[in-house]
């Protein structure tokens, strides 16, 4: 067991290092911080709202921001290994495919966490200007982190499917967009009015949306169902990644 842990740690270490030896990490962090700032202060109207809260001006953008930025981190995870041929090295090492899959995922998730932590100036700003409920902000951060993990895990699947990073990026954006779409009012209205289906179907579809589950976190609610929702997307996606990688090798 300790062996499994140290193998995962070795892979996490390598992956994280490789983020920072290439420009990807820096470009990503800068763009992420720039966009969050822009969305919060310009489009989100942080000052105009006059509220000591980050829910609307800051966190409500996250599902949309992640839509494009998270697949950009995830797209290279496996497609790069396949393109370089290092997959063959990795899978002939004395480690299980699981350790490699989990290691690579955790590394990219940690990188996302780091980026999220670097948005701290906004927390300082809102605390300086007023008296926000910092508990709510913390749960919203946790929710955002879990949601990012779910997006990342989906990107893992698409990057395992192809050796072309662009294809991987586009497919994962589409997949993640569907997770957002399911929770939009327009979709539930469509189900209720046009399809004439019962409210149960609208609820069911809505429950598959990251928006539905993220909104609880934004309001400061740590709902175990939402946590399970995000974690199950992650576990399911990593499992699927494993199946896809195995089927490639089985030919």
């Amino acid at each position: 067991m300790s062996n499994a842990f140290s193998n995962v740690r070795t892979i996490v270490k390598r992956e994280l290092k490789s983020y920072f030896t290439s420009p990807i990490a820096y470009v990503f962090i800068v763009i992420f911080l720039f966009l969050t700032g822009f969305l919060t202060f310009m489009l989100g109207g942080f000052f105009e709202l006059g509220q000591a809260s980050l829910e609307r001006p800051f966190f409500s953008w996250h599902p949309w921001l992640y839509l494009f930025l998270v697949p950009a981190i995830g797209m290279r995870l496996w497609s790069e290994e396949r393109r370089l041929g290092t997959l063959e090295l990795l899978f002939t090492m004395p480690i299980t495919p699981w350790q490699a899959i989990v290691g690579k995922f955790v590394a990219s998730w940690l990188f996302l966490a780091l980026t999220l932590i670097l948005t701290f100036p906004i927390v300082i700003t809102v605390n300086y200007l007023g008296n926000p409920d910092n508990g709510i902000i913390l749960t919203a951060y946790i929710g955002s982190f879990l949601m990012g993990g779910a997006y990342l895990a989906l990107s893992c699947i698409t990057s395992a499917m192809t050796r072309n990073q662009v294809v991987s990026f586009i497919i994962s954006v589409v997949l993640c967009f569907m997770l957002i779409l399911a929770g939009l009012p327009a979709v539930s209205t469509f189900i209720l009015d046009v399809l004439g289906a019962g409210g149960w179907l609208a609820d069911l579809v809505g429950n598959f949306s990251v928006l539905t589950h993220f909104s609880g976190f934004e309001k400061g609610v740590l709902d175990s169902r939402s946590i399970i929702f995000f974690l199950s997307i992650i576990i399911f996606s990593l499992f699927t990644t494993g199946v896809i990688l195995r089927s490639h090798r089985a030919g």
Binding site: L84, L89, T92, P94, G251
Partner: protein, 321 residues
């Protein structure tokens, strides 16, 4: 050390490897020969556990690669085709990563890296990023990776591909030296390499083993093996053919080249002729006829000819005739 039983692999309708069986013991260097697409790389990928076989069984050091992959993979060092490596890492970082995955810690890891860096002449590029390396250095970096844990079993897919003649020589020497203590399988297109390095060679064609033996044994299968080639002066080709045809163990004589003053000819023996007998008799005739004999030697046979005659498709062979 390596035991392969009836290994099969199909990709959809295509049969890549069709029932290969062999064993390699410690102290043996087995050369895999075969045309492109013969199934060499696929076989190696199955032996190293990268792809699962459709049927058959591979055991390495007593561990079944399908049932006990971790234990088996620990014993194996593998250099895949085209020598892949993480391009965003330095040579040192890459070797360090592999050594760590191989379970080496602290001082032991540093020593192991130092040892392979010296063996593969990587000192000058140690802190250079892999994507800035020339092909030869990159190849050696990946080769270093495969021997970093001093494995009992080495699987090398075209280890000398893309190296210059000096580097090729170094790598061959290295393989031969390591082959004294390890079980090694390596594939190559270069036939001299097999003679220089292998204790045994296997020719694979269309997924099957078509020849298996020591390089000398394989050469025996060549058409010209045992034939006597001679250069003589002071005789016409017609007279030469006529006299040589009288030798009891000679089957036929071919005139290879006819100059103004000398003739180059080759005499083929009848089957089951004792080796050396034909050469002795040809020399006797030359002495008796007072020919000016400039050169005379018995052909050992050539691997490339054996290779061609075995692996050329039947249709092509007929066209050549």
């Amino acid at each position: 050390m390596i035991k392969v039983e009836n290994l099969k692999k199909t990709f959809g309708p295509k049969v890549a490897v069709n029932g290969i069986s062999f064993t390699v013991e410690r102290g043996e260097v087995l050369g895999f020969l075969g045309p492109n697409g013969a199934g060499k790389s696929t076989s190696m990928r199955m032996i190293t556990g990268f792809i699962p076989p459709t049927a058959g069984k591979v055991t390495v050091g007593g561990f079944d690669i399908a049932e006990n992959p971790i234990a088996a993979k620990r014993l194996v060092g593998y250099l895949p085709e085209n020598a892949p490596a993480y391009t965003d890492m330095t040579v040192y970082g890459f070797l360090d990563f592999v050594a760590e995955l191989r379970g080496m810690r602290g001082d032991q890891r540093k020593k192991a890296i130092h040892r392979v860096v010296e063996m593969c002449f990587l000192e000058s590029v140690l802190y250079q990023s892999v994507d800035t390396l020339s092909k030869g250095y990159r190849h050696r970096t990946c080769f270093a990776q495969s021997i970093i844990h001093d494995p009992d079993v080495l699987i090398l897919d075209e280890p000398t591909d893309g190296l210059d003649p000096n580097q090729k020589h170094e790598v061959r020497t290295l393989i031969r030296r390591m082959g004294e203590k390890k079980a090694i399988i390596f594939s190559t297109h270069i036939l001299e390499e097999v003679e220089a390095v292998c204790s045994r060679a296997m020719i694979i064609d269309r997924g099957q083993v078509v020849a298996n033996g020591t390089p000398a044994e394989l050469k025996q299968k060549s058409d010209i093996a045992g034939a006597v080639t001679l250069t003589v002066g002071g005789v016409t080709s017609a007279e030469l053919s006529q006299k040589l045809a009288q030798i009891s163990v000679a089957k036929r004589t071919a005139i290879l080249k006819e100059g103004s003053s000398r003739v180059l000819a080759r005499v083929f023996p009848r089957p089951d002729t004792v080796s050396g007998e034909l050469a002795r008799q040809v020399a006797e005739v030359a002495q008796r006829e007072k020919w000016r004999l400039e050169e005379l030697h018995t052909e050992e046979g050539r691997l490339d000819e054996v290779f061609r005659s075995i692996t050329l498709p039947e249709t092509v062979k007929e066209e050549r005739k």
